[in-house]
C-alpha cells in the first residue's frame, strides 16, 4: 500500500508542481541537505548499522556528493524498485543511488540522466545446493522468486525465452519478501544482480546451503541517476564519482589526501585535488571539494573494499570493477 501511496504522491507532484527544476544545486544548498534515494535494506549497498547509521556502497556516493557541494547532511529516502524512478522524476529526491541499471529506455523516455557506472554487475541465479543444479540450462520448469520493478523481470523472461525453457515467476514488491518466500521453499530460484544475491544470501537462515550459478544472464551497469535537464547537477555527480576512481588510480586515499595536496609534485594530482587550476570552481564548487570528498569516503577502491570486498558479508571479487590499469573497466577521464 505504501508503494502505491508514494507512486500516487509522485504523480500528484507532477500534476501540481510548477516549473521549478533547473537549479538542483541551489535548492540543495538552500535546504542544507541532500535528498538521496537508496535501498531499504540491501547489505553492502544500503543498510542500517548497529548505531542506526545508513552505510553502504550506494550510500557512500550520496555522502561524497554532499561533501563535494559542502552540505552537512544527507537525508535518505528508502525506496523499493518500483518507487525509485517516479520519486526522482517528481523531485522527491535529488539523487538516486540505488543499484539502478543504465538502459536506453530509461535514458530516452523517462526524463532521467545516468551519470557514471559505479558497478559493472550482471544478473545471477541462486539455487539450493541440495537441488544438485550446476547450470542455468537445467532450470526448465523452475519457479523463480524475484522483485518487481526492475530489469530483473525482463532479463529472466528473455533468458528463458531465448533458451526455450519454461518457468513460473512469483513477483514481490520488496526484496525482504522475496528472500522470505525463497527461504520458505516457495521457489527453486532466487534471482537479482549477483552483488545483490550475495547480499541476500548473507541474510538467509543458512547461507551456506545456497549457491550462485556460474552464468550471468544479463549486463547490469549500475550507477547514480539524476533528473534530465539539469546539466550542472549531473556534472557535479559525475565528476565527484570520477574523482574517487581517479584517486585510486593515482594512489590518493582518505588517509594521505591532505599530505598529497600539500606535497605531491604530480600536476594531474594537483589539478584533481584543486591545488592548481580552477576545475572545481568552474563546476560551481569550491577548491576544497575534492579533499573533503576523499577524506570522507576515500577512493573508489576503499569504498568498494569497505562495503563489498573480501571480509564483508557480500564478499564480491573486484572482477570488472578493477581499475583499467589492472585489466578492469573502472576508467576516469583526465582531470585537465
Amino acid at each position: 500500500m505504501r508503494s502505491v501511496f508514494i507512486t500516487l504522491a509522485a504523480a500528484g507532484i507532477l500534476a501540481l508542481s510548477s516549473l521549478a527544476q533547473a537549479g538542483t544545486l541551489q535548492d540543495v544548498r538552500k535546504n542544507g541537505f541532500l535528498k538521496c534515494g537508496t535501498h531499504i535494506e540491501n547489505p553492502g549497498f544500503s543498510a542500517l548499522d548497529a548505531n542506526g547509521q545508513r552505510i553502504g556502497f550506494d550510500v557512500d556516493f550520496c555522502r561524497a556528493v554532499a561533501a563535494a557541494i559542502n552540505v552537512p547532511e544527507v537525508k535518505y529516502t528508502p525506496l523499493t524498485s518500483k518507487e525509485r524512478l517516479p520519486a526522482l522524476q517528481s523531485g522527491e529526491i535529488d539523487l538516486l543511488s540505488r543499484t539502478t541499471t543504465y538502459t536506453m529506455s530509461r535514458d530516452a523516455n523517462m526524463g532521467l540522466d545516468f551519470t557514471n557506472i559505479t558497478l559493472y554487475d550482471g544478473q545471477g541465479l541462486m539455487v539450493r545446493k541440495s537441488s544438485g543444479i550446476t547450470s542455468a540450462r537445467q532450470l526448465d520448469g523452475a519457479t523463480v522468486c524475484l522483485q518487481t520493478g526492475s530489469t530483473t523481470e525482463l532479463n529472466v523472461a528473455d533468458y528463458f525465452r531465448r533458451n526455450g525453457m519454461n518457468y513460473t515467476p512469483v513477483v514481490f514488491d520488496k526484496q525482504p519478501d522475496v528472500r522470505a518466500a525463497y527461504d520458505a521453499g516457495r521457489c527453486d530460484v532466487h534471482t537479482t544482480d549477483v552483488s545483490g544475491l550475495a547480499a541476500q544470501r548473507s541474510l538467509m537462515k543458512n547461507p551456506e546451503e545456497h549457491v550462485i550459478l556460474p552464468e550471468l544472464i544479463s549486463k547490469e551497469p549500475l550507477g547514480p541517476v539524476v533528473r534530465h535537464g539539469d546539466n550542472q547537477w549531473g556534472d557535479i555527480v559525475r565528476w565527484t564519482v570520477w574523482l574517487t576512481m581517479a584517486a585510486e588510480e593515482y594512489g590518493v586515499t582518505a588517509e594521505n589526501a591532505d599530505k598529497l595536496f600539500a606535497e605531491s609534485p604530480d600536476p594531474e594530482i594537483q589539478r584533481m585535488l584543486g591545488k592548481t587550476g580552477t576545475l572545481w570552481q568552474d563546476l560551481g564548487l569550491d577548491a576544497g571539494a575534492p579533499v573533503r570528498v576523499l577524506k570522507l569516503v576515500g577512493n573508489y577502491g576503499q569504498i568498494f573494499g569497505r562495503n563489498l570486498g573480501p571480509g564483508t558479508p557480500v564478499n564480491l571479487p573486484r572482477g570488472y570493477n578493477e581499475q583499467w590499469t589492472k585489466g578492469g573497466l573502472i576508467y576516469a577521464p583526465p582531470f585537465r
Binding site: M1, S3, V4, T7, L8, A10, A11, L14, A15, L16, S17, S18, L19, Q21, S81, K82, L85, P86, Q89, S105, R106, N109, M110, G111, L139, D140, G141, A142, T143, C145, T148, G149, S150, E153, L154, V156, A157, D158, F160, R161, Y167, T168, P169, V170, V171, F172, D173, K174, D177, A180, A181, A184, G185, R186, D188, R227, H228, G229
Partner: protein, 432 residues
Amino acid sequence: MLGGFLWLAASMYRNTLENLRTRGIGSGFGFLRSEAGFRIGEVTGLPLPQGGFLYFLLSLAAGLLLSRLVARRLAPGRGGPLPGKGLAACLALSVGLPLLVLYAFRHSVEIVRYSESSSYLVALATGLANTFKVAALGCAGSTVLGLLVALGRLSPNWLLGTLCRWYVELNRNLPVLLQLFFWYFIVLRGLPGVAQSIDLGGWLVLNNRGLFLPALVPREGAWLFCGAVAAALCGVWVVLRRSRRMWEETGRPGRRALPGALLLLGLPALAWLAGGTPFSLDFPVLQGFNYKGGTGLTPEFTALVVGLTVYISAFNAEIIRAGIESVSRGQREAARALAMNERQVMRVVILPQAMRVIVPPLTSEYLAVVKNSSLAVGIGYPDFVSVGGTILNQSGQAVEIVGIWMGVFLCISLCISFCMNVYNARIALVER
C-alpha cells in the same frame, strides 16, 4: 463551484502535460500496444468475443423479450402463476435459444492467453481478471462465512456464541496486510516441499507450491453434456415448482424425488452415450522441479482469498447480526405463536425484514474486498495493481498507469454499488 472545480481539473491536466514535456518524460497511452516482455505467474485465459458472439447477445435479448411477452399474454394478472405450457415456452426461449446459438457460433469466442510477446494491454487485462477472481470469491466467501458466524453469535449456545465473538473481535481488529502475511507464510512454512508432497494418487497433491487437482479437459462431447446438465437442472426446477403448486392447491405435494433423479441422471447419461466422452482427466505428474498438468491453487492465491474472506467476514458477521437483531422481538414471538418452526421464523419473518438493514452496509464491505485485493502485491499474487506496477516501471508512464488504476477501480466500485442498489430497491419494505 462546479466551474471552479472544472478549472482546477483542467489546469492540473495542462500543468501535468507541460511538466512531463519539460522533463522529457513520454506521455500518452500508445505504450499499451508495445510488447510486455515480462512473464505473469498466474495467467487466466481471456475470452475475446469475435463478431459471431453478437448473435448470441442478440438471441439472448430476443429470447428474454419474447418470453416476457409470452408470460404477459398467458398470465395477465401481475404475479399470477404461469401455466406449465407457458413456462416451458419461456424456458425454451430464454435459455434454449441462446444456448443453441452459442453452440452454433462456439468458435467465435477466442481465448487469449497472455505470454511475454503479448501487449501491455493484455497484461493489464490478465491482472484485472486475476483481481476479479479474488474479488468474486472473496465477496461470496465472506458473505457465507459472515452469515454462519452471525448465526453462531446469535445462538443460545454459550460456547458457540463466545467463540464467534472472539473470531469477530480478533479478525476485525488486526490490519488486513498483517493477516495476509500471516496466512501466506503460515501456509508456506506449514506445507512440505515438492519432494515430500502429500500425494493422494494424483487426485490431490499438496506441497508448498500449491494444491494440485486433476484438470477436466473438454472433449468432443463436452458441449452436448453441458447442455444436458443445464436442461436437467431446468427440468428439476419445473418439477419442484409443480410439486409446490400441488401442495398449495391440494395439500399433497407432487412427486419430486423420482422424476428429479431421473432427469438429473438420465439426461447427462443420454448425452454421454450420444456425444461420446465429455471430459477426460489430466492428472498432475511430478516432473523436474514441480508437478505438471492438472489444475491448481497457488499459495499466493489461496492466502489472498482466505485472508480477505476471513477479514471481511468478521465485518459481515456484525452487519448481519445487527440486521437480524434490528427486527423486533415481537415479530419473532408472533411468528412462533403461529406455530412456525425456527427455520421458518428465520426464513419467512426475520430475514426479509433484516435484509433491508443488512444490504446497504454490506455493499461497503464488498467494495472493501475489491479495494483490499490490491494488497496482493505484498504476497506475490499478480493482481491488477501488481501487474500495473511492473508496467509502470518498464515503461515509465507513471501518470497514465495511476490514471488507469484509479479509473478501473472506480468503475468496479460503481458497478458493485449499482448492482447492490438495484437489489436493495427490490428487497426494500413495501409500505402499504
